[in-house]
């Protein structure tokens, strides 16, 4: 065989067991089989998209909202694998706070990571649907590194962040109430992104890459959650305490496998399938709430993996 193509994939945030399928794919030789040698590095979502656009890295794994915003601002980026079929943003509050939904937020203090973040948007839509507005609550901005702690410390009553944090918080013995944002605002979690030029110049590479991603996730879905988590915890997410494996297994089996990575659409068209309607709705809402000036056309920045190279 030819020497494998070396690519760099930049992943949102930091090394975490949530990306276990990718790590397992590398360790099990799935990427290699597709003629790809991949290196993972990490950064914030916005940086990933800029790096993709600039050609600094080959693939990115940011969250979907960041891609929409990037596309709306004219960055030449393409989603080539809608890996997470839904968003994982959620309203989280301590169960004993009495908050059960957006309607209970009146007069409360809520933290989001940035006024430009999707979770701020989710908060606005959630409040609106509950008949409230931003004027009814007080919003604090707290960076990723401290937002969970601010909820734990009781400095805020609720946070809008990732549903995955529910498992962290509950591991500490705090009961958590959660409202998934996706229920009222379709969006997408991590998706594979590449540069538009790269896609048109080297569709074969992109095809092989998305195939490898699909195969990696399939392997995990096919009953290898345990093995995948072991690989991730041993080699890739070194700071994670081993005793969190139980929570992670629950998260994978109850959330990721059944509802995040798979959807009715993927049953039909395979993992990573592009839900163009969903993407379009996501973009339209972002535009409606003025996060972006104008909604881009989903077809312009989302590609269904099955159509790559055809």
């Amino acid at each position: 065989a030819d020497a494998a193509d070396k690519v760099v994939m930049q992943i949102d945030g930091a090394a975490a067991p949530f990306y276990a399928p990718l790590y397992a794919g590398v360790e099990n030789g799935i990427f290699e089989k597709n003629g790809i040698e991949v290196e993972f590095i990490y950064a914030a979502a916005a940086d990933i998209l800029t790096n993709i656009a600039a050609g600094n890295v080959d693939f990115g794994f940011p969250n979907g909202d960041a891609v929409v915003a990037a596309a709306a601002n004219g960055l030449p980026v393409k989603v080539v694998h809608t890996t997470y079929q839904r968003g994982i943003g959620a309203l989280l509050a301590k169960a004993d706070s009495g908050i059960t939904g957006y309607k209970d937020l009146k007069g409360k203090k809520i933290a989001v990571t940035s006024l430009a973040s999707p979770n701020y948007l989710q908060l606005q839509v959630g409040l609106k649907l509950a008949g409230l507005s931003l004027d009814d609550v007080s919003v604090e901005v707290v960076q990723t590194g401290a937002i969970v702690q601010s909820l734990q410390a009781g400095q805020v009553d609720a946070i809008v962040f990732s549903e995955l944090r529910k498992y962290n918080l509950e591991a500490d013995g705090t009961k958590i109430t959660m409202v998934l944002s996706n229920d009222f605002l379709p969006s997408f979690g991590n998706v594979v992104v590449t540069n538009a030029a790269k896609l048109s110049e080297n569709p074969d590479l992109v095809k092989r890459f998305t195939t490898a991603v699909t195969q990696s996730y399939e392997w995990v879905i096919d009953g290898h959650v345990n093995e995948a988590l072991d690989i991730a915890l041993d080699k890739y997410a070194p700071t994670w305490p081993k005793d969190q494996k139980g929570i992670l297994t629950t998260a994978f089996e109850q959330t990721f496998v059944p509802t995040v990575w798979q959807s009715p659409l993927t049953k039909e068209k395979g993992l990573g399938a592009a839900d163009f309607a969903g993407w379009q709705k996501n973009a339209d809402i972002l535009a409606e709430y003025k996060v972006i000036d104008e909604a881009p056309k989903a077809e312009d920045f989302v590609v269904d993996p099955s159509t790559i190279g055809q």
Binding site: V8, Q10, G13, A14, A15, A16, E39, F40, I41, Y42, A43, D47, T50, N51, A54, G55, N56, V57, T144, G145, V148, Q149, Q152, A153, R165, N168, D172, D234, A237, P238, T239, W240, P241, K242, Q244
Partner: protein, 247 residues
């Protein structure tokens, strides 16, 4: 030095334990020393902690040395040619004040991924205090030494080596001491820009998991590295002062 070190370490640990104990601080806000130590041992066993330390240390040493050398040379040039200094000042301030996180993609674009942008970033922050120290040491140094150099018609190199560097040494060393603290921060920023190894990488991984013990542990490691740098500089200072009485 040993005494100072131990005294300082004990004082820090005692203070830290006391704060955690007295205020009953929950560990997600500030874990106690033992908890952090446990996490470090865990990382040592599970995460090849030493390799990560090695990666970061290499970046820091390379960046620090590079920044110091350039800082000293630029200091000499600036002190001799104030116009050049004024001309370079806006660019230098641009490099110093522009938030590194904001220009990270540009740095990657120009320098590629890998250690280079991290080393360059560390060199950039190291450069400024060292250069400032050198300029001040030279500009406000003993005027009569300048006369001596002029009468002896010393070459620029000779007057740098025999007169300017020794007389500016206290100020340069002070600049280097400041630079150590900045270098630690730059190392973290560099690794937040895109990395898959190093202390900053472990740190962001800990932040991702809201794992305050890991965050504090990594901060502590960087502090200790910074402290080691600082003590080396102190050692040089005391050696040179004891020998030369540079006051």
């Amino acid at each position: 030095m040993l005494l100072r070190g131990i005294a300082g370490l004990i004082a820090t640990l005692v203070l830290w334990t006391a704060i955690v104990f007295i205020f009953q601080v929950p560990s997600f806000l500030l874990p106690g020393p033992m908890e952090v130590l446990n996490r470090l041992v865990f990382l040592f066993e599970n995460a090849k902690l030493l390799r990560h330390i090695g990666v970061t240390l290499t970046e820091i040493v390379a960046g620090f040395v590079l920044g110091t050398v350039i800082g000293i040379l630029a200091g000499v040039v600036f002190a001799r040619l104030p116009r050049v200094e004024r001309f370079a000042t806006p660019l230098i301030l641009l490099l110093q004040t522009a938030p590194k996180i904001a220009i990270a993609p540009l740095l990657l674009l120009w320098l590629g991924i890998g250690p280079t942008p991290k080393i360059v970033l560390i060199a950039i922050v190291t450069f400024f205090p060292v250069m400032s120290g050198m300029v001040t040491g030279l500009r406000y140094g003993e005027g009569s030494f300048r006369d001596l150099a002029a009468v002896l018609k010393l070459s620029p190199w000779q007057s740098f080596w025999h007169i300017e560097l020794p007389s500016a040494l206290p100020a340069v060393l002070a600049g280097m001491a400041v630079a150590t603290t900045l270098a630690m921060t730059a190392a973290v920023i560099g690794e937040l820009m895109g990395a898959n190894e190093g202390i900053g990488y472990l740190l962001s991984s800990g932040q991702e998991n809201s794992d305050t013990s890991v965050v504090i542990g990594m901060v502590l490691l960087l502090s200790l590295i910074g402290w080691a740098f600082y003590e080396i500089i102190e050692l040089i200072r005391r050696r040179s002062l004891g020998r030369f009485q540079l006051s």
